[in-house]
């Protein structure tokens, strides 16, 4: 297969790499990456942003299929429990946050989920958020999650080992 000279899929990951290289060559001014932009947004702006992204979802399950570390999720966080079958796009933002929490313990931040997403949702940023912030902060950065699901997430992880891993990393 020949190189694809034009129109490579410009994922968030690709953009970040380009920015990194350009910055090291002194070609561009400092510019906030998506995560920094999100932190500066109001709750409503964040909601609008993620809503526009997540409603592109066609529920191909590629983010799960391609994940190198994905394992069967715990009972209380399974899609069967929270996500209606056959509905496209799946309800905001439950599908995507649940998936991100399915791999909380094992994610290696490889970005395969974003690279394979047919509609270009910035899933790597979502992984960054769930990996480095405690849940109460995550539910502000990706606002609008049903309280029952919030509770299930917090309960599962605190129940498992008393406190969430990586909470110390939180800013």
């Amino acid at each position: 297969m020949k190189e694809n000279p034009e129109n490579p899929a410009m994922t968030n990951i690709a953009v970040n790499r380009i920015i990194e290289v350009s910055r090291s060559k002194g070609e561009i001014e400092e510019e906030p990456v998506l995560l920094q932009k999100l932190i500066r947004m109001s709750i409503q702006e964040r909601r609008d942003f993620w809503d526009a992204q997540f409603r592109k979802c066609i529920k191909c399950y590629g983010c799960i299929e391609m994940c190198p570390v994905y394992l069967e999720p715990p009972e209380s966080l399974r899609f069967e429990r929270w996500i209606p079958k056959g509905e496209v796009p799946p309800p905001y933002p439950a599908f995507h946050l649940l998936r991100a929490y399915h791999v909380l313990d094992v994610c290696v931040l490889c970005g395969e989920c974003e690279l394979t997403c047919p509609v270009g949702i910035p899933l790597k940023t979502l992984q960054d958020i769930t990996q480095y912030f405690p849940p109460e902060k995550v539910f502000e950065l990706v606002p609008g999650l049903d309280e029952d699901i919030q509770k299930a997430i917090v309960e599962h992880f605190t129940g498992v080992r008393g406190q969430l891993r990586r909470m110390d990393y939180a800013v």
């Binding site: 297969m1 020949k2 190189e3 694809n4 034009e6 129109n7 490579p8 899929a9 410009m10 526009a52 409603r55 592109k56 066609i58 529920k59 191909c60 399950y61 590629g62 299929e65 391609m66 079958k85 056959g86 496209v88 796009p89 690279l115 394979t116 997403c117 047919p118 509609v119 270009g120």
Partner: protein
């Protein structure tokens, strides 16, 4: 434990994504997307990601079957081929060649379609060969042939990201062509405008700048209305019209009658929306139109397509990158099956059978005399079977007992045949009517090429040996031809077939397996080995010389809603299933998402009829009735209902009509079917 990775082309839609099949021992254990593929770019949809899950399904047919006293019994290949050949000869002797009909398959490879059309014409001696393109884009082929002289997607998928405006009509890309939808959403995020014209609120409507909820069957009025506004506001591309087209006066005169107010009354779309959409499309520097079954599956299908071509020519949006008229084709190889001449009126490369020079060329190559009058189309063959004129049929990889209109009519026709041979991978609803069922190989068990919607010819590679005694379709066709005494079917491999195709088909002349194996991605026309292929058509001229404008009138659908059948039913697909469901309903993961059919009804209609979400209702038309679960939703307008086509137990095509075909394309009106709805207790 031998492990192998095989790159191949996805067997579902016409997007033509590539995938790696991961083979361990005699099993495909996974699918991986191909990052460097120019269309799919490391992405796949839910169907592609599960494409391997049906290949070794326990219900695969593994032995030839013969009907004996109403039951199927297993027989040997030798017996099957001998008996079919002798019964075909008998039909030919007693009733003539034209008493035999063949359905070729848009799911099979180019090589197999070429062989099937050669077999029909050179061995059976009839032009009665057609396939399911008749039911999807036949009107594209006829409409664009009239307007431009060539009926295919004019531009390429990778050009989408650079366009300034997308007009999507009668197509639900996030469900039907998800990877193309990804390109569209990327263009949208880069600032392109998006106009969606559809009777339903479809997922991509959520991202649209303008949504025009059109009444089904009023497309021509709407496109005339858009042309009216564009001409009135002086937004036409005068230089393009003058140099590249003819018939502008005819169009100008006709669309004068279609001012937005009048069009609004016909289509149910606000006049102001029509004006806004016209300006948005015409003011864009580069604008692409995408359409699919919502345009073609009408009794006015050919004219709908011409009306779309009018708009593109009016604004000079043809013959440049990121513009054009872009039919999104359904099946993985429906473009190829048409290119290969699995159509009743043309040989490969759309060379007419009635043209003496073309016929002479094929007669010389094949060494036989060929019939000169065009054969029957899909729906006409069914009718002929019911009349008793058609005595024998061979159906390869199609399931007309679910996908053709008015399926109880189809079933009666199949039962009326003296001989029905079905070649398929599963015991489909159609195969259940057969006298002989021959087990075929899947896409992962054979070699060949598919041609995708943007005319890209791509390799299909064998990853496994065919299961049981199943065989690739090309081997089955060759065996039948040899048993019927033909000498012209001794091929060692599909590559040899491609060599013959290239000699006889100018648009494929430069496309060799050698080039494809070297990693080239070639789009036809490709007239020589040195030619790089053609990403977009009509750059310097149209195949017919000048592009032709047509002044077309809105003609109402053949059957309209009335007091007895007050709703318009429109049919379509869901993202998790494919056509008759014979493959996707056997894949657990997909079956779990949508296990059976439903009918989408508007809130207003549901309240009026006392129907709650989830209630069982009967939907009936003049043809038949189905019982199905109601899904009350804001996605359809009052007066319109939607039923997916996949599910045999509540098949939308029990209700659709096989009458009222488009006069040129002979496509049935799947998209407008008057029905009534009754709540079941």
């Amino acid at each position: 434990m031998p492990f192998d990775i095989v790159q191949t082309t996805c067997p579902f839609c016409g997007t033509g994504c590539n995938m790696y099949l991961e083979v361990l021992d005699d099993e495909i254990i996974g699918v991986n997307p191909v990052r460097k593929h120019p269309v799919s770019r490391g992405r796949l949809c839910v169907l592609g990601r599960n494409a391997h899950r049906f290949v070794r399904h326990p219900e695969r047919l593994t032995k030839p079957l013969k009907r004996v006293d109403g039951n199927f019994v297993e027989i040997s290949w030798e017996q099957a081929i001998d008996e079919i050949a002798s019964r075909l000869s008998k039909v030919k002797e007693n009733h003539g060649s034209d008493a035999i009909g063949v359905f070729s398959s848009a799911k099979c490879t180019n090589e197999e379609n070429y062989l099937m059309m050669k077999f029909t014409r050179a061995v059976l001696g009839t032009n009665n060969v057609d396939h399911c393109a008749r039911l999807c884009h036949a009107s594209t082929v006829t409409g664009l042939a009239a307007s431009f002289g060539a009926g295919a997607m004019t531009n390429s998928i990778p050009e989408i990201s650079d366009t300034n405006c997308m007009l999507i009509t009668g197509s639900n890309p996030t469900s039907q062509h998800p990877i193309i939808a990804g390109w569209m959403l990327e263009a949208k995020e880069r600032g392109a405008k998006l106009i969606v014209i559809d009777p339903r609120r479809i997922p991509i409507s959520l991202h649209a700048d303008l949504c025009l909820p059109i009444r089904p069957g009023t497309n021509i009025a709407l496109f005339n209305g858009l042309a009216h506004v564009i001409i009135k506001k002086g937004l036409v591309d005068e230089a393009f019209i003058k140099e590249r087209t003819e018939g502008f006066e005819e169009l100008e005169k006709k669309v004068q009658e279609y001012d937005p107010e009048r069009v609004s009354k016909i289509t149910g779309v606000d006049a102001s929306l029509i004006e806004k959409a016209a300006l948005m499309y015409a003011e864009a520097e580069k604008a692409m139109i995408f359409y699919a079954m919502g345009i073609t599956q009408h009794s006015s299908g050919t004219d709908n397509v011409k009306a779309i071509a009018n708009l593109a020519m009016l604004t000079g949006n043809v013959g440049r990158p990121s513009t054009g008229v872009n039919p999104l084709r359904g099946q993985n190889n429906v473009q190829g099956a048409c290119d290969m001449g699995a159509l009743p009126n043309v040989f490969s490369g759309y060379q007419p059978v009635s043209d003496d020079a073309s016929r002479q060329k094929f007669e010389n190559a094949w060494g036989v005399k060929l019939p000169s009058s065009p054969g029957l189309t899909v729906v006409e063959m069914t009718d002929a079977a019911l009349r008793g004129d058609m005595k024998a049929m061979i159906i390869m990889g199609e399931n007309p007992a679910i996908t053709d209109p008015d399926i109880s009519h189809v079933s009666r026709a199949l039962d009326a045949l003296d001989l029905l041979v079905v070649i398929d991978i599963f015991m489909t609803e159609t195969a259940k009517h057969a006298d002989y069922v021959l087990p075929a190989a899947t896409f992962a068990e054979k070699d060949g090429t598919f041609t995708n919607t943007d005319r890209r010819v791509q390799r299909v590679r064998s990853a496994l040996k065919p299961v049981g005694e199943s065989r690739p379709d090309w081997e089955i066709i060759c065996a039948l031809a040899k048993a019927l005494g033909s000498a012209g079917f001794s091929y060692e491999s599909p590559e040899e077939v491609m060599e013959e195709i290239r000699k006889l088909t100018p648009s494929y002349a430069g496309i060799s397996y050698g080039r494809l194996e070297a990693g080239e991605n070639i789009q036809w026309p490709c007239p020589s080995e040195e030619h790089p292929g053609t990403p977009y058509l009509h750059k310097d001229g149209f195949p017919r010389g000048k592009g032709r404008f047509f002044g077309i009138d809105h003609v109402p659908s053949k059957e309209l809603p009335d007091d007895k059948y007050p709703f318009i039913m429109t049919t379509g697909r869901v993202p998790f299933h494919w056509h008759s469901g014979s493959v996707t309903r056997r894949i657990d993961m997909l079956d779990r998402e949508v296990p059976t059919g439903f009918v989408t009804i508007s809130f207003e209609d549901a309240e009026r009829l006392g129907i709650q979400d989830g209630d069982e209702v009967a939907v009936s038309s003049r043809r038949g009735s189905i019982r199905v679960r109601a899904m009350v939703s804001g996605d359809v307008k009052p007066g319109v209902i939607f039923v997916p086509m996949h599910f045999a137990e509540c098949a939308a095509n029990e209700l659709t009509s096989h009458e009222g075909l488009d006069p040129v394309a002979k496509i049935p009106e799947f998209k407008v079917c008057p029905v009534k709805i009754e709540k079941q207790s």
